[in-house]
């Protein structure tokens, strides 16, 4: 379960042309406890509140820069809240688009280390390894360093590792977008499974059909604020489509698929 209570997140970004600093200037700054010059603040999340329960899959949509990834990272506890608070009942696993966990190690070692890091025993890791490799579908590449992987392969293996264990919270940030159709179907099934194990899943995706098929709740962000949020997934998806100048289509799809719907 996740409770986000009036969350504000502010990024501090170091300016591009800040001085690099020699050992001596670095020492001075340490002693004076000064901040580096040219820091800019970006107010990425401005007062977001919602509640997500165990078994929920929450889709997060919005344009680039609307704060989707920031929201997920704040839920994972990786970004401090400037104001407000995120409450969770456990630790999250956050899957982003960067392909590797430790990119100079082979896929196989990443699998083993990932499992051990998640707290599995050596035996559990040994048992889980063939399943993970199988699920990721990277084949012979498993023996190559992960920096040799394509983006799609990397994110498949990451997802396979992270989903090998049930998490209280699984945060998926566009990590599935680079996979092919077959992998997207597999990962959709896996997310459903994780939900049934009473985890909470968050999914950021620009492919709206992915959200439509996977999620039972949806949050539409714009400039760090919620435009619409609720469990009328097709309705909100359609509103979002309309706002970005496309045709509404999900309501219709939902009604043909399940006439008894909302």
């Amino acid at each position: 379960m996740v409770v986000v209570d009036d969350l504000h997140v502010v990024y501090r970004v170091y300016g591009g042309n800040a001085d690099k600093g020699t050992a001596a200037t670095a020492l001075l700054r340490l002693l004076k406890r000064q901040r580096r010059p040219s820091i800019r603040e970006v107010h990425a999340i401005r007062g977001v509140s919602f509640v997500a329960y165990r078994g929920d899959a929450v889709g997060v949509i919005g344009r680039n820069g609307s704060g989707k990834s920031t929201l997920l990272r704040a839920i994972a506890g990786l970004l401090p809240a400037e104001e407000g608070m995120v409450y969770t009942d456990g630790h999250g696993a956050l899957l982003g688009v960067n392909a590797a966990l430790l990119d100079d190690l082979t896929g196989e070692r990443n699998v083993v280390l990932g499992c051990l890091a998640m707290g599995m025993t050596t035996q559990e890791t040994k048992d889980a390894k063939p399943r993970i490799v199988e699920f990721s579908g990277v084949g012979d590449f498993i023996n190559l360093p992960m920096k040799a992987y394509s983006t799609g392969m990397g994110s498949r293996l990451r997802f396979a590792i992270a989903s090998a264990k049930s998490h209280d919270i699984l945060l998926v940030d566009e990590a599935l977008a680079t996979g092919d159709a077959e992998f997207q179907r597999k990962s959709h099934d896996r997310i459903d499974e994780l939900r049934q194990q009473a985890g909470t899943v968050f999914l950021v995706a620009h492919q709206l059909s992915e959200i439509y098929e996977t999620c039972n709740r949806i949050i539409w962000l714009e400039k760090g604020q919620i435009v619409k949020a609720g469990d009328d997934v097709p309705g909100i998806l359609d509103d979002y489509l309309e706002a970005s100048g496309s045709e509404r289509r999900f309501r219709e799809l939902a009604e043909t698929a399940a006439p008894a719907g909302d």
Partner: protein, 360 residues
């Protein structure tokens, strides 16, 4: 397709969240249609359901337990990194031994042959190589630990585990490398005429103490390096200074220019790097044990002769007749003390920032 028509969410029709204690979204400058906020205070709801703040550090006890559970992760991480470190070099793992050897070679050339730092030190080659290898352990452990959080950011951001695993793993890597280079050291030591004795077994406790110290220091530097990028720029410079005052290249206790400054000699000798270096030298090298001040009854004349004739090879063992500044047993006590202080402070210091690693 399974989720159409769900109407089960509590508070589905509660409307706007404004006005309930503490949770007002006052900054909203546009009407928001948020049906995922039940009425009432969200904070109360969270606390009622036993939730905790997302970015809060675990209590110390359970943190230590989690860490113990990850011991296979720590060793696996160290092994994997060790293998990956040299995969792209043509000589591969050979560099693990070659790097310290080349280092020792350079220092021997400069300090032994050009600057004559070897005056008054019996078996200077073994003395120097031992010092370089042992100091290199602490040096590498500290420098790599200061970078570990940045190095492993993707892993930290993806999965939850006690972050102390990472600096621990890095120190373990360096310990593995040290053990490897010790086999080279043993060969050098034996070739230069030192006997193989039971004293050598004391290397094990000495290395355990040094490892504990390195873990403690590594934890502190890992936290600093994670929050302040500048640490990794500054550290090599500090560590090199540390090396020059720790008697890696010369013998602190027999340095003539320090003879009149017992306080400085004392401080230099009890600094942790010097303590561990001396302990290992004294276990490994019989020549060091015999030349150690205090190992023979004090004799003012012989001692004075030693200092005035540093170039005389015949008198090189006569430092044994001088007063010791720090005795051998005191060295062991200092070794234990530094190790305990470092590990306790380091662990607490690192743990306190546990929730902040990987941010930014």
């Amino acid at each position: 397709m399974s989720n159409r028509g769900r109407l089960s969410a509590p508070g589905r029709l509660s409307g706007q969240p404004e006005g309930d204690g503490g949770t007002g979204t006052a900054t909203a400058d546009r009407p928001e249609e948020n049906h995922l906020v039940p009425p009432g205070s969200l904070r109360d709801l969270a606390l009622r359901n036993g939730l905790v703040e997302a970015a809060i550090r675990p209590p110390l006890r359970s943190y230590a337990q989690e860490l113990w559970k990850r011991r296979y992760f720590i060793s696996g991480f160290a092994t994997a990194r060790n293998i990956a470190m040299y995969t792209e070099a043509r000589l591969g793992q050979l560099w693990q031994v070659l790097t310290p050897l080349l280092n020792a070679g350079v220092y021997f050339f400069i300090f032994g042959l050009l600057l004559h730092a070897n005056r008054g030190v019996p078996n200077y080659l073994s003395f120097l190589v031992t010092g370089v290898f042992v100091f290199n352990f602490t040096q590498r452990a500290f420098i790599t630990s200061s970078q570990v959080i940045r190095d492993t950011l993707p892993l930290i951001r993806a999965l939850y585990f006690p972050r102390a695993c990472l600096p621990l793993g890095y120190v373990l890597i360096e310990l593995q490398q040290l053990i490897l280079s010790f086999f080279v050291l043993f060969v050098i030591v034996l070739i230069t005429g030192e006997p193989l004795t039971w004293y050598w077994l004391l290397i094990i406790p000495a290395l355990i103490l040094q490892s504990l110290f390195n873990v403690g220091g590594g934890l502190i530097l890992a936290r600093w390096g994670a929050s302040i990028d500048d640490v990794s720029q500054l550290l090599p410079f500090l560590v090199r200074t540390w090396m020059y005052v720790s008697g890696v290249l010369f013998s602190i206790q027999t340095l003539a220019s320090l003879r009149m400054h017992p306080k400085i000699t004392y401080l230099l000798q009890i600094n942790p790097a010097a303590v561990y270096i001396s302990l290992i030298r004294n276990t490994l090298l019989a020549s060091q044990r015999q030349a150690m001040p205090g190992s023979k009854p004090y004799n003012a004349l012989t001692c004075h002769l030693y200092y005035t004739h540093l170039n005389d090879k015949k008198l090189v063992y006569d430092s044994a007749y001088c007063h010791p500044v720090v005795s051998q047993s005191a060295l062991w006590l200092w070794g234990v003390g530094w190790a305990l202080v470092a590990i306790v402070i380091g662990f607490l210091f690192f743990w306190r920032a546990e929730a902040r690693y990987g941010r930014g």
